[in-house]
């Protein structure tokens, strides 16, 4: 019973806080540009509005078109539940849940890209192709980062891996994971969430035909994914798990806020990369993670 309550509580925390992050990024962008910008809670309003709206479905789509976003959302929520929050360990810590975490992200990608191909639109096909292709490099980087963390903590359970700091390679790991965060969440310089030019987008173009509640599930899932990567980055780099509970929660919150501000600043100050250069930047992210792994190795594992 306590387990169930705790699980529900943690899930509610994740789900409720997730839409805050894109709001913060937008505020940072507006602040840098000298605009007033949308309210921080804008995404909450959008989600509420979409949840009540009707749906336009293409004549070509299968039932998977609606099931896809639902499964992707469930997979992302599951991945969130595997992560420790501050000093609070997830109830279901087990050896190898780090690999399950990667698998859940892949499942979300599979169904999202699959649903994008469902209406038979060339634009969405293009977006899906980019998503699954760039994810190859991103996945290599994440596994390398997990290897570095596992080597440092002598564990394959996420909660134990994320408890100490990343040690010698912390800066490298932070750089690598931040690059992956930007790529996987389709932020500048990989993708521009503000543009509406289909030919240049990755994530947005995959969801062109979605509307109403499925679109709400997709947008909320995207916000959740951003929060997951921010928490992963913060906990991988900082020894949050070793702090007392309140301090841990505070540090985690501050670190996630810093990540969001960082993403907002990158978005304001950098231009989007040409598509040919995207793999190069992602490879750089992968190499940073690889050097972090080597640094951990040389550091004797801690």
């Amino acid at each position: 019973m306590r387990l169930a309550l705790e699980l529900v509580g943690r899930l509610a925390l994740w789900l409720l806080l997730a839409p805050l992050l894109p709001g913060i990024i937008n505020r940072v962008k507006a602040w840098v540009a000298g605009r007033r910008g949308p309210p921080v809670l804008q995404l909450y309003y959008d989600l509420g509005r979409l949840w009540r709206k009707g749906v336009v479905l293409s004549t070509a789509v299968s039932p998977g078109f609606v099931a896809g976003p639902a499964v992707a959302w469930v997979a992302l929520a599951g991945a969130a539940l595997l992560l420790p929050v501050g000093g609070m360990w997830p109830a279901e810590v087990f050896r190898g849940d780090a690999v399950l975490f990667v698998g859940l992200l892949a499942l979300a990608r599979y169904v999202t890209a699959g649903a994008a191909l469902d209406p038979g639109s060339a634009f969405e096909g293009m977006g899906a192709a980019r998503e699954v292709s760039y994810a190859v490099l991103a996945e290599a980087a994440i596994i390398t980062a997990l290897l570095a963390l596992s080597l440092k903590s002598h564990s394959v359970a996420l909660a134990e891996m994320l408890t100490p700091s990343a040690g010698a390679g912390a800066v490298l790991l932070a750089g690598g994971l931040f690059t992956v965060l930007l790529a996987e969440n389709c932020r500048v310089p990989f993708d521009d969430p503000a543009t509406h030019l289909e030919l240049t987008m990755i994530h947005e173009v995959m969801v062109l035909d979605h509307s109403g509640p499925p679109l709400a599930a997709i947008l909320h899932g995207a916000a959740l994914k951003l929060l997951i990567f921010s928490v992963l980055l913060a906990e991988a780099v900082l020894p949050i798990g070793k702090l007392p509970p309140l301090a841990a929660a505070g540090t985690l919150g501050a670190a996630v806020l810093a990540v969001a501000v960082g993403a907002g600043l990158v978005e304001s100050l950098l231009a989007r990369l040409a598509f040919r250069r995207v793999p190069l930047l992602l490879t750089t992210g992968f190499l940073l993670c690889l050097f972090a792994l080597l640094a951990t190795w040389k550091g004797g594992g801690g």
């Binding site: 749906v55 070509a60 849940d97 190859v136």
Partner: protein
């Protein structure tokens, strides 16, 4: 009944089925299924209870006494043969009926039973000579099954390549078993771990069995054979007969000592097979050829498990090696299940539309919902996604590799890259199967043939559903299948007894079950919400384009273009481009084809050189008697000189 009695029932009924192949298709089906069921019983009891069943007889076959042996390793592969073989047998009845193939259907049934019989014999005989006989017969039976449609040129070419490659493998195995027999003094097989002088023989086994398993770069025969064989045969080849190559490697690396480098070589070949297999798959536009390259990929994953298992065994007691090896072994089952499911699905598509070209398909989910559902599930399983079986075995391999990275020694340096590349392989496979499912089953029909498609009959649907259920079962309850894997591992390395399932496996199963439940619930709830809010139907939004046509959909080639560009150095795609010219271009075209690089750039040049040398030598034979007499005289003279010079010493 004892295992021997069950095996006897299985053998008798498969032979009975062989006799019934021409006259009674129904009797054939019943007898063959009985055989599969009867073979499954001893396999399951051996896997559940452990132990070894052995039977020696004084009866001589080929001058050698009969010696049968069923232990964990052979029972593991026998169970795969029985389950997958049984499912495909039912499918074959619907897919290759007498009405459509009056000549080849009865012959196909006969060869089928011969194949099943000899596959089973390979697994249970413990005599080198009998092993070779059964191996050769099943190779030949598979050849006749691949070439059931002999009237087609490309089928004959594929069959010929298969036969040539199989016999190259056979030569290596002949050498392997003959040298083994010469050094041990008999053809009898069994554990001989102490005799270190036998270790170098492993390299012969690696080439022989590796060729059969389709390990890179020995996979050249595999894509064309699997693409051109009838689909039920492709499913059998990929699901079971490739695994016999793995069986050989596992069997003889367990029974015989192996050289120190064996594990490293197998692991490197495994990683190469995994990454390059999926890269080649991405470049394909023929559905079955694409699936065939994925067999190379999955054999690579299995070999990674086996390779790290061997490395760990060489290092003494390494717990991570057991995990990696157990993962590789479980992947044998998993790949057998989902790859045969995918080939059966591809067969249903081919049956309904008459084409394997993905660019001619599209939107098939509407006409073939069952096939589409099973195929998409199989695709998720082969991409290594939770909560399905492919993820469970890859998870075990990953766990082994992660532990190895934390361990001491050189193996840590090898395990890191292997883990990263295994992750890359998974992501590439996911990209490839999103492409396949999207292009073939989603969107709208690209041709008239795809538009007129209809769902396959119950005889073809049932086996697909059964295999899909098996994929889900291993995914949701991996703990139930653990004793089988543990017993097989213990039979491979007696020092590696693993009684209980590792605790995380149960937790993983629980997570999988929760995920499956939540995903189903989420999908239902979202559908209900969508219904409540009201649904309007419209054409796909194509950037405001008013009249989209099916030809405007994204193609398989465009989808894979980014990744095939990264692998252009080895894929070497051949392009023919007709660019649009002028202000009002009348026509333009772009065609791209990814050939089999190893075949075209390595095997064919070498073959060509051999043929040239042979042609040069043939000039000596021209039918002129005077010259032949001259050869004789010259030969005698040379011999005389040799004898006199040698005798003088």
């Amino acid at each position: 009944m004892s295992p021997g009695a069950w095996l006897l029932v299985a053998a008798l009924s498969v032979v009975g089925g062989l006799a019934a192949a021409w006259r009674g298709p129904r009797a054939w089906l019943a007898l063959t299924l009985l055989a599969c069921g009867a073979a499954l019983v001893p396999a399951v009891t051996t896997l559940a209870g452990g132990g070894t069943w052995e039977w020696r007889s004084a009866v001589l076959i080929g001058g050698e006494p009969v010696h049968l042996l069923l232990d964990g390793v052979s029972a593991f592969f026998l169970a795969l043969l029985a389950v997958v073989g049984g499912a495909i047998t039912i499918y074959a009845r619907g897919y290759w009926p007498d009405a459509a193939h009056p000549r080849s259907a009865p012959a196909g049934r006969a060869w089928w039973n011969l194949l099943l019989l000899c596959l089973g014999l390979v697994l249970v005989v413990a005599n080198g000579l009998h092993f070779l006989i059964a191996w050769e017969i099943f190779t030949v039976a598979a050849y006749f099954l691949i070439t059931l449609e002999r009237q087609k040129r490309e089928v004959r070419a594929a069959g010929w390549l298969y036969l040539a490659a199989s016999h190259l493998s056979m030569v290596c195995l002949f050498a392997f078993f003959a040298l083994l027999a010469a050094r041990t003094g008999g053809w009898d097989l069994g554990p001989m771990r102490g005799r270190t002088e036998l270790a170098p023989l492993f390299w012969l086994a690696l080439v022989g069995f590796g060729l059969k398993a389709g390990m890179f770069p020995l996979h050249v025969w595999l894509p064309s054979a699997h693409a051109n064989a009838p689909s039920h045969v492709s499913a059998m080849l990929s699901g079971v007969t490739l695994k016999l190559g793995i069986y050989g490697l596992v069997r003889f690396s367990g029974w015989l000592p192996v050289p120190a480098a064996a594990g490293w070589v197998v692991a490197v070949l495994g990683v190469a097979s995994a990454v390059l297999g999926v890269a080649f798959a991405l470049g394909q536009h023929d559905l079955k050829r694409l699936l065939a390259y994925h067999s190379v990929e999955n054999i690579g994953i299995i070999l990674i498990g086996l390779g790290f298992g061997l490395i760990a065994a060489a290092q003494g007691n390494a717990a991570w090696g057991r995990l990696a090896f157990a993962g590789g072994l479980l992947h044998v089952w998993n790949h057998g299940l989902f790859k045969s499911l995918l080939f059966l699905g591809a067969g249903s598509v081919l049956h309904a539309t008459g084409t394997r070209e993905m660019s001619r398909l599209g939107g098939l989910w509407r006409a073939m919902p069952w096939t589409a559902g099973c195929f998409v599930l199989g695709a998720a399983a082969i991409s290594g996604l939770p909560p399905l079986n492919g993820f469970v075995s890859e998870w075990l391999v990953f766990l082994g590799l992660f532990d190895a990275v934390g361990g001491p020694g050189l193996s840590a340096w090898a395990a890191g890259p292997a883990a990263i590349l295994l992750g890359v392989t998974g992501a590439l496979a996911l990209a490839c199967f999103v492409k396949v499912c999207g292009i073939v089953f989603l969107g709208t029909a690209r041709t008239e043939a795809a538009r007129r498609a209809s769902e396959c009959g119950p005889l073809m649907r049932g086996p697909m559903l059964g295999l899909a259920v098996a994929c889900i079962a291993i995914g949701l309850a991996p703990v139930l299948f653990w004793p089988a894997v543990a017993n097989a591992v213990a039979a491979w390395q007696p020092a590696w007894q693993m009684a209980a399932a590792p605790a995380p496996l149960a937790a993983l199963g629980a997570c999988h079950a929760a995920l499956a439940f939540a995903a189903t619930l989420g999908a239902i709830l979202l559908w209900r919400r969508v219904r409540q809010n009201g649904v309007a139907r419209a054409v796909t939004w194509d950037c405001g384009y008013a009249a989209p046509t099916p030809r405007m959909q994204y193609t398989a080639g465009s989808f894979a273009e980014i990744i095939t560009g990264w692998f252009g150095w080895i894929l070497r795609p051949q392009r023919s481009i007709d660019r649009p010219r002028g202000l009002f271009p009348a026509q333009a075209s772009h065609a791209e084809h990814t050939p089999e690089t190893v075949l075209e750039h390595v095997v064919e040049p070498v073959g060509g050189a051999v043929m040239q040398v042979a042609a040069a030598v043939r000039r000596l034979q021209h039918g002129r008697l005077q010259f032949y007499i001259l050869y004789l005289v010259v030969g005698m003279a040379v011999l005389a000189v040799l004898v006199i010079a040698g005798g003088g010493r």
